[in-house]
């Protein structure tokens, strides 16, 4: 009898978790393949890769959607950079980034890196450890969007 109760509770917990997941976040990674046609014009194809090689340019696309019944306030999306990927840019999505493993955040142009001699140098894209978008306004019910950033396979 007691076992059956546990089973029932166990079955209920994922249900509760699901109810809280009012926001769906979908992660897609594409690779930019540059091809040159007979006229010497470069064409960029986005492919969904199974495999990549060093030097490949990856495009990370994050799609979010508020599927719940309430607006989602203080909405923040965070993407730690995979260690084998060097951050390149984030188009015009103006993310906050961290260059110290997620301790401090800011626009890349505002951040700096301490050097051995005690001075600081301006942070470069290669220094980025985390990318984050913090939304000023709540995501309304049904609201959705996409964010992107690019990186290069180290």
């Amino acid at each position: 009898m007691r076992t059956a109760l546990f089973l029932l509770l166990a079955a209920m917990i994922p249900g509760q978790a699901l109810a809280a997941n009012q926001v769906a976040l979908d992660n897609n990674v594409f690779v930019e393949r540059v091809t040159t046609d007979a006229q010497g014009k470069q064409k960029i194809l986005l492919e969904e890769p199974k495999v990549v090689v060093p030097g490949d340019r990856l495009v990370f696309v994050l799609s979010y959607r508020n599927a719940g019944a309430q607006p989602a306030d203080k909405f923040v999306i965070t993407n730690p950079m995979p260690s084998a990927v060097q951050f390149a840019d984030a188009g015009d999505t103006r993310p906050l980034v961290s260059v110290d493993g997620g301790k401090q955040w800011g626009l890349l142009s505002d951040l700096s890196i301490p050097m051995n001699d005690g001075a600081r140098r301006a942070a470069q894209p290669a220094d980025v450890t985390h990318v984050r978008w913090a939304f000023a306004k709540p995501i309304p019910v049904g609201g959705a969007g996409k964010l992107m950033f690019r990186g290069v396979v180290k």
Binding site: N21, I44, A136
Partner: protein
Amino acid sequence: MMKAPVGGAKHQLLPSCSIFALLAAFALPMQAEAAGTRAGSTISNTASASFDTGGGTTTVDSNRVDLLVDELLDVTVDSSNPADVPTTPGATGQLLTFSVTNNGNGVEAFGLTTIANAGGDNYDPVVTQIYLDNGDGIFDASTDTLYTAGANDPSLNPDQSITVFVLATTPGTVVDGNRGIVSLVAAAKTGTGAPGYSFAGQGEGGGDAVVGSTGADGQDAGAFVVAAATVTLVKSAVVSNSLGTTDPIPGAVITYTIVATVAGSGSVSGLAVTDNIPVDTSYVPGSITLGGIGLSDAADADAGDYNGTRINVGLGTVAGGQTRTVTFRTRIN
């Protein structure tokens, strides 16, 4: 600490087509990078979102995307001889040094070949052996490994280099100033081809092996230049006698002058001038000179000697463009 408005992104729906147009605007050429992420490793990406719908902060994770890193096949060959290596006609064991570097991201074996007949030079060196260095960078046939194609193709880790020695024979027919070029070619054993071509399932770690920007083969040229020298000897004689004439009468003294001229960009080593004393004449003791300086007749520290039948003057190594003048005297019997 979050500075929400500063980094705030638009939360309007961004149509995907605009993103893709944006991507196109950022076209950058693919750059070949040395080694990089090891073949067979997995790149995983997961994002998370946090938000508040009135009941406190909730965090959700995205799906995880896993990408397998394929093996990139890249190799470069560099000549280690900054300038042409001097050689001489007919010389054997003439050495060119190269380094072969695995620029790929997996362990790869490379086949080595040479090209000596590509043109652009005056002669074709005859490649006799290829040796793999033991790590000290100095050629030594007793400690380095003789390379046999297919038997001991060097296997290199990502970013690892090996020094390769190419030994060649210089044909005897070459002349001073001739150049002979030898290129060393290294090709990935997995395969070569156009950049981007892939060998399914043949990469380290189970992925594909993809030809990198080098085409998975590389080559570089080293060159020999023939530094030969030729020797010409000109001998002249002047007779003087007690009569004050140049008649070769008995008792007259003949002064012989031998001028050795070395021409060419090389040098001659072990050069010696030897001359027999003509019959019916007698050597005048102590009469040998080299460059106007007297030499003793004994076989001793100085370069000249007389052994009873001939004079000999050792000139040692003489560079092209120089002359040596030897004189000695005899008396007509």
